[in-house]
């Protein structure tokens, strides 16, 4: 939008928020209820087929609009960094909710671990912790590089972070499939519920983080990357890392 738009006082608009929310409506509630409530795999896939493209289109469209001067009336680009902690505060309370549920259930249980829980090895979580912490560190370096306008260095460290994050997810998935094949499922006992939901929620945060990293990578490759965006996502990534300490210490090692 150009200077002369300001003079003519145009209403600003963007179709992407609307498209994105319609996409989310199909992607989550509709697809989920079609499959789990109304037992129709077909309709569920149809809903996903509508939802996923809508989400992708709108995210890309949104990202495109965000390059360059976003809005003539606000300092949008500058405020991402202070806004992220607020968002992280809310996110933290999601994990607090799950952890409190876990503590309450565990501390009032007669025996722990409840019958039927497998022994979960310590090696995988230790390796996962090391990987996630390293990715946090590499992300920090990436941010640092960008601060000094070293785009190449930034891309390098970012790619390393993404790879580490992906390895983390892979380990998590292989552990899940190992446990599931061993007959330990969400409904085995209360530990199964807690284990899968807490690690699952954490993993979903890793996925979100990785998506944001990919977006940053695309932006960096196309030559326009905003420093506040990178600051926010790296803040988010450190948060995911810190949450993992809680997950690991509470779920695996306690």
């Amino acid at each position: 939008m150009s200077e002369d738009a300001v003079e003519h006082h145009e209403w600003e608009s963007s179709p992407w928020p609307l498209v994105l929310s319609v996409g989310i409506l199909f992607f989550a509630p509709f697809a989920f209820s079609m499959y789990f409530v109304y037992d129709s795999l077909f309709m569920s896939v149809v809903c996903l087929g509508i939802g996923v493209p809508l989400i992708l289109i709108s995210v890309i469209g949104w990202a495109k609009e965000s390059i360059g001067p976003i809005n003539m009336y606000t300092k949008e680009q500058g405020l991402g960094t202070p806004a992220m902690p607020l968002f992280i505060l809310a996110e933290a309370f999601i994990f607090i909710g799950f952890l409190v549920a876990y503590w309450v259930l565990r501390l009032t249980a007669d025996v722990w671990p409840p019958e039927g829980s497998p022994h979960i090895g310590y090696t995988t979580p230790i390796v996962m912790t090391i990987i996630l912490v390293s990715s946090s560190i590499t992300m920090h370096f990436a941010e640092h590089k960008l601060e000094h306008d070293d785009r190449k260095g930034f891309i390098g460290f970012l790619v390393v972070s993404i790879i580490l994050g992906a390895i983390f997810l892979g380990l998590s998935a292989s552990e899940w499939s190992h446990l599931l094949h061993g007959g330990f499922t969400t409904s085995t006992n209360i530990f199964g519920s807690v284990f899968y939901s807490i690690t699952g929620f954490h993993a979903s945060h890793v996925v979100v983080g990785l998506c944001m990293f990919l977006a940053a990578l695309l932006m960096a490759l196309s030559g326009s990357i905003s420093k506040t965006y990178v600051k926010s996502i790296s803040m988010y990534w450190h948060f995911v890392d810190i949450v993992w300490f809680f997950v690991v210490s509470q779920v695996y090692f306690w």
């Binding site: 989310i24 999601i94 799950f98 519920s193």
Partner: protein, 529 residues
């Protein structure tokens, strides 16, 4: 509303795709009033059903779905979005001298997610096996129920996410985008109150999110959080739920108080009485105490005895900060020059209705007394007075107050006053009678009361009241439609208010002011000499 010439495409772009905070706000308002109208319709149907012993117009299953929709839509679809969506969005940038909110696109995303939540909630009436689990959705029933619990969970999650995004957005806006010279010490009460409400949202909504996620996981994904046979605990849900839903009532109350403060100051042409104490003691106090009282919803649920006693004391103490706010509101009238325009009538009505509703919270807070009245219509009467009536009066008063600004048209004062009088009479008949029905032992969420036929007269009175009420709301609606189509153009500042939002043009254009106003010598309550 300003020029939508230039064809349907332009209209679509400027309204449906808008990311301007004022238009986003108005779209919030439309959605929340739609939720109010449908949920109000359900209330009328429920009242007809309850007006006589025995099945009157429907069967228990349908009644339960109506009641589910009524409770969930009124709170999640009407009041919270009207207050933290419409008023906060539309008003806060205008009151702090910003040209828009910090993240306009995110703002539009919140709006449309809220609308998707409304769509999801309305689907209750078309899908097979609609949810019938009440807005509290206690397990195990919400897990055993044949109804579609997933819709409830997702409605809450989607609207919850919209609230969180809105909270992040507006708190950032308030902190970083105040006009030069707009210091903390002279913000409008509404800004303070709403900021406190958003802080509550950021902290507590995620907990509600985990609670409803857990019920859907239990029901559909096989987890056992709330299933005692596999190590779960049914009371865990109630604690998580009320840990959010008690603060949620202050998420409603705080902006409601903020609107009342601003209306009263304008029409009494007076400063807020003891502004600092209202902000730090009143609003701050509510913020501090609201998270430590949720057990008062669980007095009869079999929680350990000591925790019920502890939370009883903190519940009682809520009356202190709320009382400070009430004192400031009433004190603002003192030595004022009060003008009884329609918005002011609603504000005055609010004071009386809130006193009734808030003070009846005191017997509820006393665990021993609550044991008898818990889950009877006495509770229903309490929260209708304090939330459904006082809260709605504040919202309607606020809409009348800002009507000239956001539509550019004046409303008809006579119609407005008639609407007020009729609703005021209606609510008092409806909900005052309901207290007595409750004291007779009528449990809530009852489709029928064949065991207590002696309650029929009382129930009928409540129903009559509800009809008067509905007529009142109809007149309000007519007065708004009348104004939209036949209202006189409004001046920039019809009330002579000193507040910043009235200094811009009517209705405000894109960017709100041509220049960001300089607020060095500005005082939103600078009345008198």
């Amino acid at each position: 509303m300003s020029g939508s010439k230039g064809g349907i495409g332009k209209f679509l772009r400027e309204w449906i795709f808008t990311i301007d905070h004022k238009r986003v706000g108005i779209l919030y308002l439309i959605g929340s009033l739609a939720a109010f109208a449908v949920a109000g319709l359900m209330a009328m149907l429920m009242r007809i059903e309850l007006s006589s012993v025995g099945p009157t117009i429907t069967d228990p299953n349908t009644y339960n779905v109506w009641l589910y929709f009524h409770g969930a839509a009124m709170i999640l679809g009407f009041q919270i979005p009207a207050l933290t969506g419409f008023f906060a969005n539309w008003l806060i940038p205008l009151q702090i001298g910003a040209k828009d909110v910090a993240f306009p696109r995110l703002n539009a995303l919140s709006l449309w997610l809220f609308w998707m939540g409304i769509v999801l909630a309305l689907l209750t009436f078309v899908v097979p096996n609609p949810p019938d689990i009440m807005w509290t959705a206690y397990p195990p029933y919400s897990i055993l129920s044949p109804g579609n619990t997933a819709f409830y969970s997702f409605t809450v999650l989607i609207m919850g996410f919209a609230s969180i995004a809105g909270g992040v957005n507006l708190i950032t806006t308030i902190i970083y985008m105040r006009a030069p010279g707009m210091r903390w010490g002279k913000l409008n009460m509404f800004v303070w109150c709403t900021m406190a409400a958003f802080i509550l949202q950021l902290i507590f909504v995620p907990i509600l999110g985990t609670a409803v996620t857990m019920i859907s996981m239990d029901k559909y994904l096989g987890t056992t959080f709330f299933s005692p046979t596999s190590g779960g605990d049914v009371l865990l849900y109630q604690n998580l739920f009320w840990f959010y839903s008690h603060p949620a009532v202050y998420v409603i109350l705080l902006p409601v108080l903020g609107i009342i403060f601003d209306i009263v100051a304008t029409f009494a042409r007076n400063r807020i009485f003891n502004y600092k104490v209202a902000v730090y003691g009143g609003v701050g106090g509510i913020l501090l105490v609201s998270g430590e009282v949720w057990i008062h919803h669980l007095y009869a649920s079999g929680m350990p005895n000591w925790i019920r006693i502890g939370m009883m004391m903190s519940t009682l103490l809520i009356s202190v900060p709320v009382g400070l706010c009430v004192l400031s509101i009433i004190g603002t009238l003192y030595r004022g020059a009060i003008e009884f325009k329609t918005p002011m009538l609603y504000a005055v009505g609010f004071i009386f209705l809130f006193l009734i509703g808030g003070l009846t919270g005191i017997p509820l807070a006393l665990a021993a007394l609550d044991i008898f009245i818990h889950d009877t219509h006495f509770i229903v009467a309490h929260f209708h007075y304090v939330m459904a009536v006082a809260g709605t009066f504040s919202i309607i008063g606020g809409i009348y107050y800002y009507w000239p600004k956001f539509t550019g048209k004046m409303y008809n004062e006579t119609l407005g006053k008639i609407g007020f009088v009729i609703t005021f009479i209606g609510v008092n008949i409806t909900f005052f009678a309901m207290f007595f029905v409750g004291l007779e032992g009528m449990p809530r969420r009852y489709f029928d009361y064949a065991q207590m036929p002696q309650l029929e007269d009382g129930q009928r009175l409540v129903t009559y009241g509800a009809f008067i009420l509905a007529v009142g709301f109809l007149i309000i609606l007519i007065s708004w439609l009348h104004s939209l189509f036949a209202g006189k153009p409004a001046p920039d500042n019809p009330w002579g208010s000193k507040s910043l939002e009235w200094t811009t043009t009517t209705p405000p254009g894109p960017g709100n002011w041509p220049e960001v106003p300089d607020c060095e010598d500005f005082d939103p309550y600078g009345y008198g000499e």
